[in-house]
Amino acid sequence: MTLSASSKRLSPFRRRSAIPGFGITLGVTISLLSLVVLIPLAAVILKASGLDGPGFMAAGFSPRAMAAYRLSFGAAFAAASVNAVFGALTAWALVRYEFFGKPIVNALVDLPFALPTAVAGIALAALYAPNGWVGQYLAAMGLKAAYTPVGVVIALTFIGLPFVVRTLEPVLRDLSADVEEAAASLGAGRISIIGRVILPALGPAWLTGFALSFARGVGEYGSVIFIAGNMPYKSEIAPLLIVIQLEQFNYQAAAAIAVVMLSASFAMLLVINTVQAWARRLSA
């Protein structure tokens, strides 16, 4: 008895699966992605393509725009770095210890997810202004947080913290106590265990948390504009610059800045994903 080879050939786009619903789930996914992500992004690029080369350079790479990119990406990077450290400590404390008020701390971590960003911005601005609760002591030391790039970093740190904590938490919980005990029984001290065993195992998740926090920071608008002071060339973020261009009906310039940001963000996420894929292969 022979089976004819051609009788059961399926479409090359789809492998046979026992799980139903492939058509509808992928269909809805692609429709929604198109409507919500792809078409608006295409529109941005289309709008920017109305500019000729020099015009695009002038709008997208003007000194003011360059200063805004530096601030947006720089501050987001700084904030994500701060979050990577403190988020890891927070996740560690939440996973490893039982303490009084843990549910409250747990809820506080999620607050930046839920709080309207403008509320956070106003609160932070009030706190860090030279006459605010924290700002007055900083001012006494000759430091100025609000209305400077430092203020931007503070706002972005607030916004990005939960990304690191919530990404690391499940991985830390998953990291069995066995592995640490094995290291201890082999003679490793606390520092060695953390440095050689725990941190490397956390690597991929850590990078993901950092990337999410960073990506969130690059795009953040609401909380930043209240605390940044928004001085051109100094404390003006790129998203705000886009809004300013839009308010002046300068749609093509706004689109040009958006395209530059889009390309930069895309490039960075690509790099981070590549590193992750490489790291994940080791820890499969």
């Binding site: 066995d178 005990e181 060695s192």
Partner: protein, 345 residues
Amino acid sequence: MTISIRAVEKQFARYPALRGVSLDIEPGELLALLGPSGSGKTTLLRIIAGLEFPEAGQVLFDQRDVTFASAAARQVGFVFQQYALFRHMTVAKNVAFGLDVRKAATKPARAEISRRVDVLLGLVELGGLGGRYPSQLSGGQRQRVALARALAVSPEVLLLDEPFGALDATVRKSLRKELRRIHNATGVTTIFVTHDQEEALDLADRVAILNLGQIEQVGTPAEVYDNPASAFVCGFVGEANRFEGHVENGRFVSGAVSFPATTASGPKLGFVRPHDLTLSVGEEAGFDLHIDRVIAQGPVIQVEAKTTDHRRIDAAFARQDVASLTAGTTIRVTARKAHLFDPVA
């Protein structure tokens, strides 16, 4: 190194895990801690390793009190049930870990470490796989890596927690032989935890049987099998038919079952191993068994049967002793050997 455990007690939140356990382990010995789950065997192993600390009692390594010494300070090799390998390190790095983390003064040279890693990987028959990551190995291979890693620090004691628990039967058997071979080659005092009596009896020099946080018996596999010290040991090690009854006029009687007994009269728990049941000959008193099923496999014929009062009995006969047994017939048997214990109050 002699390990002495003196009256160790350990309490977990709700229940006592160990209730006054004392045990001496001789240098170079291969000892099994055998018991059902919840008997405290793993807790005892972890206390010896320094991963858990007792509420009372002492742990002595060669008369040196290490009760509260850290795991790192004890020079023990520990092998975990789930291997606990470092997933981000190669096999060679895993094995070298214990040497790599040493302080500069006692750390061997790089070449020495890599030579030792090669020797150990050879010992566990994983030569040439040093560059792989744990995710690229099978379960049995991972367990060998864990073993090599534990041996790398030249431990005075090797402790294994259910070392073969997560492996399939074939791999388990071959690793068992391997562990015996490695034990013979290194001579390191070895203690392993298992709930599998066959594994314990097969592998260990001596077996310590734990139940409910206490040691029931310590002895060679033959001793615990032939002369169980308690009803628990008798029922747990090897198969046995269990009867509740009493001894009267030199006979143990339990319903329709009766066989000769030498103990004093009174209520008793009787255990008879399947192969200690023999066909009763002539006028010798015995009891009847109704045969339900005959499993004629290999040199031993196993029989599932019922007493006349409908209790299930397992029996085993040497093939040459019983010419033919068929299901549905009745045979008369007696016990050539039985273990009798006072019932627990």
